[in-house]
């Protein structure tokens, strides 16, 4: 309470000094303003990127997804090509039996980039044969009001049913037509539409992927495609039992490496040592992104840090100049009874007031910067949701500026506190 009684007049006094020297104060604040603005804008933008990328990796099945793909044999095994039977449903059974770390296995048989016809409308998209396990592995779902996905029974009975990606629906059906229950044709064969996959929407800032052919980018690619039972795809189209790939979902991301190792061993043994497959994970993508994120944080954080540092020096400089101008005032205050600590507090409060006001202006500027970036991104990506300012980040930015101001104020305030009153009063 007593400290508050001493701090309050010091802060009021600081505000008056600021008001009396508007231009000088604004100049001394400029470093803090830029520092806080760039710090808050940087953290906001990087956080937007991180959030978006998490979603992106999630849309690719997340970190707990392992992808097994059919490959050409390596050069030294080329002469054994006749022995290679490729990926088959037998691999699915083997992995299910021998790799307990794997929770779901999604065999995928690509039919091809096919024309799908509904009445007088048509569109081209990838048609893939899958099982019910596609959903947990790809982290997708079918909203209850949008029908259902391919079931085990469909696979068992080789039914002619099809699930469409959400981007395919508007190409084939008028807005007032419920796609579920309609009959479409793929290469002349009639399929009943049983469901529509959930629509993936990016939030945060868009990451452009190599797959993006039009606006909407990677998300649009994820929303296209059509899915039929894997058995239907193999027997009625492909005419063989070769799968194009397997998607594995493991129970615990921590066990990713073990699971990859076990799967590799099982596959290699089952394939008689032939390397006609590859195993990959999203780990590398995530790792690459982490590096990018760290690089962003480091460089932008460096810029923000340097401007805050310079801002602190600016405040210290102005405080020293201000004290030099007010040596007499310090003498007078001491002569009428101020202790060293009173003057220390007064000048520290003045530095804090300058940095708080500077920090607040910096927050306003950061709002402007983020709005401007959002505006630019909106123009570039119509679907792109954007980075949003976070009160916590703004609070941290302000707190950071206060700390800088206090640190910068200590030395000038100590000088004021230590001035000899007699010398100070003699000062012209």
């Amino acid at each position: 309470m007593r400290l508050f009684d001493r701090v309050r007049p010091a802060v009021i006094n600081g505000l008056r000094e600021l008001q009396a020297n508007k231009v000088r104060s604004l100049l001394s604040m400029s470093g803090i303003i830029l520092g806080v603005a760039s710090l808050v804008a940087m953290v906001t933008v990087v956080q937007g990127m991180v959030g978006n990328f998490r979603q992106f990796v999630d849309a690719m099945g997340g970190i707990e997804k392992i992808t097994v793909l059919r490959e050409q044999l390596p050069k030294e095994q080329e002469h054994l090509a006749e022995l290679s039977e490729g990926l088959t449903m037998r691999d699915v059974d083997r992995i299910r039996r021998t790799v307990p770390l794997v929770r779901n296995i999604s065999p995928e048989a690509r039919v091809g980039y096919e024309k799908i016809v509904y009445e007088d409308r048509e569109t081209n998209t990838y048609v893939t044969g899958v099982t019910a396990d596609y959903l947990p592995v790809a982290k997708r779902w079918v909203e209850p009001e949008q029908g259902r996905f391919v079931s085990d029974l469909d696979v068992h009975n080789m039914t002619d049913v099809i699930v469409l990606g959400s981007a395919v629906v508007p190409e084939l059906f008028a807005p007032n037509v419920d796609p579920v229950g309609q009959v479409v044709k793929v290469r002349g064969r009639r399929f009943t539409v049983i469901g529509v996959l959930n629509n993936i929407e990016g939030t945060g800032m868009q990451i452009r992927s190599a797959n993006s052919r039009s606006s909407g980018g990677a998300w649009r690619y994820r929303n296209s495609g059509a899915f039929i039972p894997v058995s239907t795809a193999l027997t009625k189209y492909n005419g063989n039992d070769r799968l194009s790939g397997l998607g594995l979902r493991i129970a615990d991301p921590e066990q990713l490496r073990d699971a990859v190792e076990q799967a590799e061993r099982t596959m290699l043994a089952a394939h008689k040592g032939l390397r006609d497959f590859s195993i990959s994970t999203n780990e590398q993508t995530l790792e690459d992104f982490r590096k990018t994120e760290a690089a962003f944080k480091l460089s932008l954080g460096g810029v923000a840090g340097i401007s805050l540092f310079v801002g602190g020096i600016g405040i210290m400089n102005v405080m020293l100049a201000s004290i030099n101008e007010r040596i007499r005032e310090i003498g007078v205050r001491k002569a009428v009874g101020a202790r060293g600590s009173d003057l220390f507090l007064q000048f520290l409060a003045e530095a804090a007031v300058v940095s708080v006001v500077g920090g607040l202006i910096g927050l306003l500027v950061s709002v402007g910067i983020v709005s401007l970036m959002n505006f630019i991104l909106m123009q570039a990506l119509p679907t792109g949701a954007v980075a949003t300012l976070d009160w916590v980040i703004m609070g941290e930015g302000l707190a950071f500026s206060v700390v800088i101001g206090l640190i910068a104020g200590v030395y000038p305030a100590l000088r004021a506190a230590k001035l000899d009153p007699i010398e100070a009063l003699r000062h012209e």
Binding site: R2, E17, A20, R333, K334, V336, G337, G340, S341, I422
Partner: protein, 228 residues
């Protein structure tokens, strides 16, 4: 009745390059409560040093000071600040009002540095002090808007606002015109009726003559102590 201040064997030695300069070279003096005293002397006589030591802005090298019954020659800085805010008032030649504060805020300044200081009570006390010096019509002016005589009366109000035991006026009329010199000196002289000891520090004999007792100093020693 014991004196307000009793000083014995007071010395102050400065080191200037290789030599020691004795600003005070053994001073013995008593100041009574409610006395109007002038300390007269040329520059370098030691009168300013004496004022600074008695005003708790400096400490002596040697000797004893008993202030209101307490030995105060060697106090720490915070304790000396306490004496400055509770027992002593200063009036300076250059007024030394803070230009950014209003008149009433300037006068309330000494009270700001007391413990349990209450802003409202401080301003009330400041208004009363300004009333006492005839400046209550200028409460919210800035010092820059006042004449020299008015500023010095505000400075006197600041010196008395904390009800001190003693006021030191350091060449208080040095920056004033003839008309205001008498007015300020009369004002200072009138304070003794309230039991305040007033010490004029000056090199000007005509100013010193206004006091009831004139102490002449030279080369760090009291040369003459004369009651008129």
């Amino acid at each position: 009745m014991p004196p307000l201040i009793a000083i014995r064997g007071l010395r102050k030695t400065y080191r200037m390059g290789d030599e020691n300069v004795h600003a005070l070279d053994g001073v013995d003096l008593d100041f009574q409560k409610g006395e109007f005293v002038a300390i007269l002397g040329p520059s370098g006589s030691g009168k300013s040093t004496l004022m600074h030591i008695l005003g708790f802005m400096d400490t002596p090298s040697e000797g004893s000071i008993v202030f209101d019954g307490e030995e105060v020659a060697r106090l720490d800085p915070d304790r000396r600040a306490w004496y400055r805010s509770h027992r002593v008032g200063f009036v300076f030649q250059a007024f030394n009002l803070l230009p950014r504060l209003t008149v009433v805020e300037n006068v309330a300044l000494p009270l700001l540095y007391r413990d349990n200081s209450d802003p409202e009570a401080n301003l009330a006390a400041a208004r009363a002090a300004l009333e006492r010096v005839g400046m209550s019509h200028r409460l919210d002016h800035r010092p820059g808007q006042l004449s020299g005589g008015e500023r010095q009366r505000v400075a006197v109000a600041r010196a008395i606002v904390g009800t001190p035991s003693i006021i030191f006026a350091d060449e208080p009329t040095g920056n004033l015109d003839v008309k205001n010199v008498d007015r300020v000196l009369d004002l200072l002289g009138s304070l003794i009726k309230e039991g305040i000891t007033v010490v004029l520090v000056t090199h000007d004999l005509s100013v010193a003559e206004k006091a009831h007792r004139v102490i002449s100093m030279r080369a760090g020693l009291v040369q003459e102590d004369r009651v008129r």
